[in-house]
């Protein structure tokens, strides 16, 4: 049994190889946890992932801070709101709709969508557009591995993502603070980049609801808001898709939103950041320090214009 209940494993407890996220176990685990006593800590299920060469060895941000300081406006605009309110979200059953320019559109059960993929642990830096950052041990699957089976066609130039819209459980959606549902998008090469993952867990457990359960994107060289949470729809598109923050304030949030210390947000500098848990600000790195893996995708592009 590879995925077990209980919190007896730590993120360091990584098995050397061959950990598969198999449908039956995943679903059993979620159901067994007591029909989502709505994903409080009690219903977290232990997960394990293979270590990855993309992981940083920087000091990790404490689990309390990772799960207690969140921007997830669907559950309120204060950073302590999601931890308080996201427990109401039902994450099982969960389906994801795949559509647009691909060979196998359809609505898939979460277990089927993830089936057959090896979970990896990716310890990534996360840089929020607001000037703070964390180091988070995610558990997930490279997005490319998840998307390729649906056969994106040659017309598929972008991938668009959508968060669940369910105001009955997502109380932040009862006011139009943003355009709901939350949308995000990536260029196809960004989506297929080996750094881009679909995360289903963190700190050795399934994702807490406030962190985007049951699955969310993690794009570590972009500002955090690109890493869309609680995904219910993935569309392959020919045109650049609209994104939530860009629609809200186009001058402030571009489609690309790559971490870039030289291009300021109109209202604050992006040159430095405060790593959560640290006192002094530290310089922000180009592409959040992932230039080696991603800079080539933007060669020749004016990153001031395509911010």
């Amino acid at each position: 049994m590879l995925i077990r209940q209980g919190g007896d494993l730590t993120e360091n407890d990584v098995t050397p190889r061959g950990i598969y996220l198999r449908r039956r176990e995943f679903m059993t685990g979620v159901a067994g946890a007591g029909l989502a006593l709505a994903a409080g800590p009690a219903s977290a299920i232990a997960l394990r992932g293979e270590p990855s060469r993309y992981s940083t060895d920087e000091e990790k941000t404490s689990k309390d801070n990772v799960t207690g300081y969140n921007n997830y406006y669907e559950f309120g605009v204060d950073k302590s709101d999601p931890a308080r309110n996201a427990g109401a979200l039902t994450t099982s059953p969960w389906t994801v709709k795949i559509d647009g320019e691909c060979d196998k559109p359809g609505t898939y059960d979460l277990g089927d969508f993830l089936r057959g993929n090896t979970l990896q642990e990716r310890i990534y830096r996360l840089r929020c557009v607001e000037g703070w950052s964390m180091v988070i041990p995610w558990l997930g699957v490279p997005l490319a591995d998840l998307l390729k089976p649906y056969g994106p066609t040659s017309k598929a130039k972008y991938v668009a993502f959508e968060t669940l819209e369910r105001p009955s459980e997502m109380i932040g959606q009862r006011r139009s603070v943003l355009y709901w549902p939350y949308r995000e998008g990536l260029r196809m090469d960004e989506a297929m980049n080996p750094l881009t993952i679909m995360a289903v867990g963190l700190y050795g457990e399934t994702l807490p609801n406030q962190n985007g359960a049951p699955m969310r994107l993690v794009v570590p060289w972009k500002y955090g808001f690109k890493s869309i949470k609680s995904i219910v729809r993935i569309s392959f598109t020919e045109k650049q898709p609209p994104t939530a923050w860009n629609r809200s304030a186009a001058r402030e949030y571009g489609f690309y939103s790559n971490v870039n210390p030289e291009v300021d947000h109109p209202r604050w500098s992006q040159a430095t950041e405060r790593r959560i848990g640290e006192f002094r600000r530290r310089p922000t790195l180009m592409f959040n320090g992932y230039g080696e893996q991603v800079a080539s995708m933007y060669r020749g592009m004016d990153l001031r214009k395509f911010f």
Partner: protein, 197 residues
């Protein structure tokens, strides 16, 4: 109880009320309850309480008139100086803790970030008001000039609200509520002035 003793108790209560948010903040900080980003939390809370006390200060004159309690006016200075103190702490935390005296970065912020430009300008305008709040200043400036100077508050408080509004990312409700209250308090003054003219 004689009048003097009663007056002392009332003053102590006003002081305590003005100090309470700071004590509460200090306690929460000491108990480690300010969240993952305590520096930002402290800056925000100090700023919001500075603004709230400015609003209270603006509400005193209308309240004194409407409630026919002219002696309420005597608390205006206390409340105003507390407001200034919160704002001074707010600014000091930004400069000394958040930016850690990185003057180049602070200078750029002031020039490039409209919300910081406005906030800093409002602070600079508020400083002479705090500095001339003692009784001798009224005598030295003459009541007319002193009053003209202190009418700057009608500009400073809206600037504070704009400062707040501009830094909010998406949920503009709180700064709009403060803005509404300020508009009402200043509107009342216009209305009262017209009526007595």
């Amino acid at each position: 109880m004689d009048r003097k003793a009663r007056e002392r108790i009332v003053y102590a209560a006003v002081w305590l009320a003005c100090l309470a948010p700071l004590l509460w903040l200090a306690w929460r900080g000491y108990a480690g309850e300010l969240g993952a980003n305590p520096i930002e939390a402290v800056i925000r809370k100090l700023g919001v309480w500075g603004l709230r006390l400015l609003l209270v200060g603006l509400a005193i004159s209308p309240a004194a008139r409407i409630l026919r309690q002219p002696r309420l006016i005597r608390f205006r200075r206390t409340v105003g100086l507390f407001a200034f103190s919160y704002i001074l702490l707010h600014l000091s935390t930004y400069i000394g803790v958040d930016q850690f005296f990185d003057w180049a970065a602070i200078g750029k912020d002031i020039l490039k970030r409209p919300y910081i430009t406005i906030g800093m300008a409002a602070f600079l305008l508020l400083t002479p008001l705090a500095a001339t709040s003692f009784n001798g200043a009224v005598r030295r400036l003459g009541p007319k000039r002193w009053r003209r100077l202190h009418q700057l508050i009608y500009l400073i408080v809206p600037m504070g609200v704009v400062h707040y509004y501009l830094l909010v990312k998406a949920d503009h409700r709180p700064p709009l509520i403060y803005g509404g209250i300020v508009a009402a308090l200043l509107g009342w003054r216009l209305w009262a002035a017209r009526k007595s003219a």
